[in-house]
Symmetry: C2
Subunit: 336 residues, 2 copies
DNA sequence: TGCCACTGTCGAAGCGCTTCGATACAGCCA
DNA sequence: TGGCTGTATCGAAGCGCTTCGACAGTGGCA
């Protein structure tokens, strides 16, 4: 394996010159640069990451802590990850993968051991044990999600409050006055993962503003769970004409359940779903939906953490605005 | 940040002694060990990963190359990843995440730059451009999947041929003689990803053995795609009484499609599905299924790559035997 | 008592890179 | 011609660790 000294010898310059040619931190003559480039290519030289990290105290790695829980929607999760990896590579960084269950220990191992220059932490909860750890660290980090006590820590997320409002606004505009919310599984709420609560918050606020009557039910993603939730909502709101679904797994089951109950979508019941566009489009009835821009959130998180790494300021909390895509699952309620 | 020299000073020993205490490569007296441990704890010492990598030429990192394609079943993918990360941590290694689209370049960047000691590469295709690169590398690697020209490279995968056979064996045993296969999307076959072809191979071989008549159709995971596939299969095999589904996304759609055609499962049509157990159990009719033991494959891959890293031999190709879980979607065909 | 083997520890070299300060040289102006 | 500025390059130190060889001390055996 060639070293920088080999390259220097081959090109007839000092090792430091090669280093400067590589980093661009000092001017290099045209001729030297050419010889160095040639030598690098013919020797197949690649700098040793460890040596570089040692000398420069920069690892060019960002750590990504991913939850691997089965009550999360996995494809969305992977979109976050893709956004993070792609953006990181764009900043010439690699990504070290940590899982949620390593917790604060994993974070400090990677940070204190100088394996990573920066951290992106997903799926933060309202009261998250990792946040104190993050705060003691000297390394920049960005949270995906909104923690209650994030304080000065930088966070990015979809504006779930606005998403909840947007769903109701759309339905109210069409004339709906009785709207149910099919939520996430109970475990998600009891973990106090911020996004689920925030969605309900926006949903409720907008309903009040529009004078609509609403009901909310968590929902497991099994047929039985969906049926239970729908029955409970109908019992509470007999005149229900619209549903908002914040549960990617449950959406197809819901459609099937309603159809087996003889309720047509959108004629009898309108549906707005929180889900990615491709899921919405593949449904039996293509769903009007609000997507979580997961890849964008991931790449934004990396951009911000890079800003901090370079000493630039980053905002405390960034909430991306939701966008609603109209499809075939929403219509004005049929007069009765 | 404390260094090994700080620890040594604090404990009243030489830095090398601390190093040996940490690595266990030379005997250390009980008293020295205790003082060193104390010093490490009070100083919050953590070895610098880069320095360690430089001195020992070991990074304690394995690179994982993950495909992020949307025609793959993402939850399964993440199970592989989970298996890999968990096993790697068990071997005191971290995981560097690479995406498929970095290709051979990504592999050689990470390997030549000494960022990773070993590689796990997923989703290998019959003729994979990364394989020649892998072969020139001095680092151990393990493939997940079966490549045509893997040669002496180590590979792990589910035995998809056996899985195809197992599905047919089960149906034949029940008395089915006309069986259709609902396959992966066409793009998967045209990429020549081994697993899909191998499944068909086993399916076909077992059918011949049992004297069953069969038909095979690729299938997009849209309702239209599923309907098309089912119609084509029925046209080719009017007496069809059973379906094998090798397509996790399509399974629920298939169930719905059959029910809307008035065909009952399992009374009119039996179904065997390749999918994870939790997906199978959540279906309207719980599916008899063969699961891909993704997490186990992932952790096996890591175990093998670690063996190679320590100079132990690893087998060329490991195929895990499939297991079929009987649920409610298969029964003997009703006599006509 | 002398020798040997073993255990526990130390010091120093070296891993491959970055970076600081020094230096050589060219070109310019006075 | 002397002195100055600026550009391009070099040499050496040092980043924090591992590892090799050396060596002091201890105990056992002849």
């Amino acid at each position: 394996m060639a070293t920088i000294a080999d390259v220097a010898r081959h090109a007839g310059v000092a090792p430091s010159t090669v280093s400067y040619a590589l980093s661009g931190k000092r001017p290099i003559s045209e001729s030297a640069r050419r010889r160095i480039d040639d030598s690098i290519r013919t020797l197949g030289y690649r700098p040793h990451a460890g040596a570089r990290a040692l000398a420069s105290s920069k690892s060019n790695v960002v750590a990504l802590m991913l939850p691997l829980r089965d009550d999360m929607h996995v494809p969305t999760l992977l979109q976050f990850a893709t956004g993070v990896v792609t953006a990181a590579r764009g900043h010439d960084h690699d990504v070290l993968l940590l899982t949620h269950d390593e917790g604060g220990d994993g974070i400090s191992r990677v940070a204190t051991g100088s394996m990573a220059d920066a951290l992106v932490v997903m799926d933060v909860e309202r009261e998250d044990a990792r946040i104190p750890v993050l705060r003691t660290l000297d390394r920049p980090c960005v949270l995906i999600g909104v923690a209650g006590d994030a304080g000065e820590l930088t966070s990015v997320d979809l504006d779930f409050v606005a998403a909840g409002e947007l769903a109701v606004d759309h339905l109210a505009e069409l004339g709906h006055r009785h709207v149910g919310l099919v939520g996430q599984p109970p475990s998600v709420y009891s973990r106090r993962t911020g996004f689920a609560d925030r969605f309900i918050e926006g949903f409720t606020a907008a309903s009040q503003r529009h004078g609509a009557r609403v009901a909310v039910r968590p929902c497991e993603f099994t047929y039985a769970g969906v049926a239970t939730a729908v029955e409970a909502l109908l019992a509470e709101l007999p005149e229900l004409t619209a549903l908002v679904v914040h549960n990617e797994h449950a959406a197809p089951m819901l459609l099937e359940t309603l159809s087996s109950m003889g309720r047509k979508v959108p004629d009898d019941i309108s549906i707005v779903s929180m889900c990615t566009d491709d899921v919405a489009e593949r449904m039996r009835v293509p769903l009007t939906s609000i997507a979580i821009p997961a890849a964008e959130i991931g790449s934004r998180a990396v951009d911000m953490v890079m800003n901090k790494l370079h000493g630039r300021e980053a905002p405390g909390l960034t909430l991306l605005p939701p966008r609603l895509a109209r499809r075939d699952s929403t219509a004005a309620p049929t007069g009765r």
